[in-house]
């Protein structure tokens, strides 16, 4: 029996458990970073953490406002360029896990990081930065998102990071390497993808969440067959690490 926990804590723990020891991960600020640090402090002490801006294996003592924040660079082992990280390490196939977020994700795991189409026209938000590139070459993709009907959709308004493209073998046919795995961790559940059709599949719902909540808040029809599993809960050890060591200021958990 573990302590009570927040949804963000559960999301971080769920992501951390998907990382394996000795893997190389590209992370951004926030929950992905928290997840990587938790993994490093538990079962994956030899995890290598990469920031696209050109920083490898730092040991930040404070969270920052983004990968451009020098707080995140403290005690790095290597500084390099964008070409050195995503143009070399990633492209050579050395990145095991790429963490992604975005404005929308569709039923094939494709992500939109850039713009939203509204009735008034296009609303440009951001741009893909290194996220599109991570989707191209990471062996596994871990997508972390808020669970809203308008964010998990049939088809993204603008495709920036390729998941399984149009499903089946379409990604490979496009000339892209197939990822070993793609998962989406939301505040309600964990999604995976069907091995044949490559379309969205519910893997587990978080403890306390109702299946209806998931179905109602997902913009894609889900086929539910058989009993739905619950996401494993965080252990006391994991929670204590998160709260006392990794994010003591509780900026993200």
């Amino acid at each position: 029996m573990s302590l009570p926990y927040t949804t963000n804590e559960l999301m971080a723990v769920t992501a951390a458990r998907l990382l394996r020891d000795k893997e190389n991960v590209v992370v951004g600020l926030g929950l992905p970073q928290i997840a990587a640090l938790l993994a490093q402090n538990t079962h994956a002490p030899n995890l290598t953490i990469i920031y696209e801006i050109g920083v490898i294996n730092p040991e930040a003592e404070e969270m920052g406002v983004g990968v451009a924040d020098p707080r995140l660079w403290y005690r790095a082992e290597h500084f390099t360029s964008f070409v050195g990280t995503l143009g070399s390490i990633l492209q050579k196939g050395l990145v095991d896990v790429g963490f992604l977020g975005g404005l929308q994700v569709d039923k094939y795991g494709n992500i939109n990081s850039t713009l939203i189409k509204t009735e008034k026209g296009i609303k440009h938000i951001n741009g893909s930065g290194g996220a599109a590139d991570m989707a191209t070459w990471s062996k596994r993709l871990l997508i972390m998102m808020r669970h809203e009907k308008r964010k998990i959709v049939e088809s993204v308004d603008y495709l920036t990071s390729v998941g399984y493209l149009r499903g089946y073998e379409s990604r490979r046919e496009e000339g892209l390497p197939m990822p070993e795995d793609v998962k989406i961790i939301t505040n309600l559940c964990v999604f995976g993808f069907d091995e044949e059709t490559r379309s969205l599949k519910l893997l587990s719902i978080h403890p306390g969440v109702k299946l209806e909540d998931v179905l109602q808040n997902t913009g894609v029809p889900l086929e539910i067959s058989g009993e739905v599993k619950f996401t494993d809960e965080p252990t006391t050890e994991e929670l204590e690490l998160l709260r006392n060591k990794i994010d003591p200021q509780r900026m993200y958990i």
């Binding site: 600020l29 920031y51 696209e52 801006i53 050109g54 920083v55 003592e61 920052g64 406002v65 983004g66 990968v67 451009a68 924040d69 020098p70 707080r71 660079w73 403290y74 790095a76 500084f79 390099t80 360029s81 964008f82 070409v83 995503l86 143009g87 990633l90 492209q91 990081s113 850039t114 026209g121 296009i122 609303k123 440009h124 938000i125 951001n126 741009g127 893909s128 930065g129 290194g130 996220a131 599109a132 590139d133 191209t136 070459w137 603008y158 495709l159 920036t160 990071s161 390729v162 493209l165 990604r171 496009e174 000339g175 892209l176 390497p177």
Partner: protein, 300 residues
């Protein structure tokens, strides 16, 4: 010995009044050539093409000032302080020709330019709407081809050699040897240009360079001119020199959401000051700057 050190005003005056292609080195809110962009705006350099891996505050300022005709980049932000609202609005309203890439496809275009090779073949952009949009615009920097070796599909990314590149770094000597502390995402951007201008926190002796050659990430022969501009990235951070100024970033983020407030910001701080020192004085001078000076161990 010849010195490449010039004033910021002189450097900016070397840029033609209209139509220059400039690559910028900032990344969100760190090591942005802010002072350089202030001076670009003061000297009213128009119809610019801007190329950048990940855009930041300086790019948003330049677009907001109405000086940019075309931008090639992979997006950007003010990190958690906000979005690049001036750029977003210019795109939404169709005021600029925006060519959107992924970060690495831009970085590889700069790399090819810096190395003098015609293009780099890569998988990046395949399957994305960025690629679709570039192809629709018949962008001449992009071709989808099959490699003659493995027969697989690649995007051939054409080398980019902008007229100018501008980065802000910690140190350079008079000869133009540049030291960057921390990550140096912008080195290929810098080396790709026909002319590279570097603004630095401090001009150092060549003796300092020779004692720390492993810190030199751009050797002098790539550099056209150096300007010493202390706090030249303010309100953004410069690792080992100063932290970002939270309040000023919030002020900018707020102002940039609204066109008229942005124009006021521009009038007050850029057009209404004769140089960057005057701007720094205006926002609080040494008292304000002392608060963000970096700790020598942490570097921020």
């Amino acid at each position: 010995m010849e010195s490449k050190v010039k004033s910021l005003r002189e450097i900016v005056a070397e840029i033609p009044d209209e139509g220059a292609h400039i690559a910028l080195g900032g990344f969100a809110i760190t090591r942005n050539p802010v002072a350089f962009v202030f001076e670009l705006i003061r000297q009213n350099k128009r119809d610019l093409t801007v190329s950048q891996i990940v855009a930041g505050l300086e790019t948003d300022l330049l677009v907001g000032a109405g000086l940019v005709k075309k931008i090639q980049y992979s997006g950007g932000s003010l990190d958690r302080f906000g979005r690049l609202e001036r750029i977003n609005e210019a795109i939404n309203k169709g005021l600029i020709d925006a060519r959107e890439y992924s970060g690495t496809s831009m970085a590889l275009r700069f790399l090819a330019g810096s190395m003098g090779i015609p293009f780099i073949p890569a998988k990046y952009l395949l399957g994305t709407d960025m690629l679709n949009a570039l192809l629709e615009k018949k962008d001449d920097a992009i071709r989808v081809e099959r490699s003659p070796f493995d027969g697989e599909r690649y995007v051939y990314l054409r080398a980019l050699q902008p007229d100018f590149a501008v980065i802000h770094a910690q140190y350079a000597d008079e000869k133009g040897n540049v030291i960057i502390e921390g990550p140096y995402w912008d080195v290929e951007t810098a080396k790709s240009a026909k002319k590279l201008f570097v603004t630095v926190e401090k001009v150092v002796s060549t003796e300092f360079i020779k004692r720390n050659p492993e810190k030199v990430v751009i050797p002098s022969l790539y550099v056209s001119a150096v300007a010493e501009v202390p706090f030249g990235a303010f309100p953004c951070s410069v690792y080992r020199f100063y932290d970002y100024d939270k309040d000023m970033l919030k002020e900018y983020a707020e102002a940039s959401k609204d066109e008229s407030k942005f124009k006021e910001f521009l009038q007050d701080y850029v057009l209404g000051t004769k140089d960057f020192e005057e701007f720094l004085e205006k926002v609080g001078g040494i008292r304000r700057l002392n608060k963000i000076k970096a700790d020598p161990v942490y570097g921020y």
